[in-house]
Amino acid sequence: MRSHVRELREQLGWSQAALAERLGVSRQTVNAIETGKYDPSLPLAFRLARLFEKNIESIFIFEEQS
């Protein structure tokens, strides 16, 4: 799933490691979410949304698979 996590993180001037620490996950997980290789669980998506003060829908771009 594509997302705006990288842009939002960079706007705040955080490194992947810094965001990972705030979320309580590994840097690998943040990187995988940013590159669209891993879709986070709902609780993690909510933690991201809360951290960026956004709605989940404005962070993640859901694309129906054809």
């Binding site: 309580g24 996950v25 590994s26 690998q28 997980t29 990187n31 995988a32």
Partner: protein, 190 residues
């Protein structure tokens, strides 16, 4: 050199020294010698792969990694000590129930190793847990397939592997395939 690589290298070399030196001092069965060489080669192989790959398959908080090593290393040492003790004592004892007890002596530290692995997996984050689950599934499926094939070949009298050797190698084989599978699976998320 990272900590995990150094630890694996030291354990692998230690096992190799034990495998080379032990038969010179005490009489060691072929099975036991094979197990020692297998463990040494497996550990060194895993260390080399880790070194070659540069980045680790596991990205976990440093405290979790340290706790895992703190639990794993003493358990591995305890396993080696009880293994040799068990083999040596079994040559001196004839009473059946005591032989059973001595033969099962190394199982307790293996239980400690398994506990360390489970605690480690339980405390990793959701992506790492997904990687671990997939790697464990692949490892158990492949090793089961191998043993099923071996069972058919043995029944057909094409091969003749001693049952003890076959049973002892289940856990090390699962660990080895699990390590390789984890490298492949984690590569998908990099």
């Amino acid at each position: 050199m990272n900590l995990a690589f150094r630890t694996q290298l030291v354990i692998g070399l230690l096992l190799l020294v034990v495998a080379l030196a032990l038969p010179r001092f005490v009489s060691v069965s072929d099975t036991m010698e094979g197990i020692l060489y297998g463990l040494a080669i497996g550990t060194l192989f895993s260390a080399v792969i880790r070194r070659q790959r540069g980045a680790s398959c596991d990205e976990v908080p440093r405290a979790l990694g340290r706790r895992y090593m703190r639990e794993l290393i003493p358990a591995t040492i305890a396993y080696l000590v009880t293994l040799f003790l068990s083999v040596w004592l079994l040559k001196q004892v004839e009473i059946e129930w005591l032989r059973a007890l001595l033969a099962l002596l190394p199982v307790a530290p293996v239980g400690m190793i398994m506990r360390a692995i489970i605690r480690y997996i339980r405390d990793t984050d959701e992506l790492q847990q997904k990687i671990e689950l997939e790697a464990v599934s692949i490892a158990t499926a492949l090793v089961s397939l191998l043993y099923l094939s071996g069972g058919f070949l043995q029944t057909a009298k094409v091969i003749d592997i001693p049952a003890g050797v076959a049973m002892i190698w289940v856990f090390p084989l699962i660990c080895a395939v699990y390590g390789l599978a984890k490298m492949v699976v984690s590569g998908r998320y990099k």
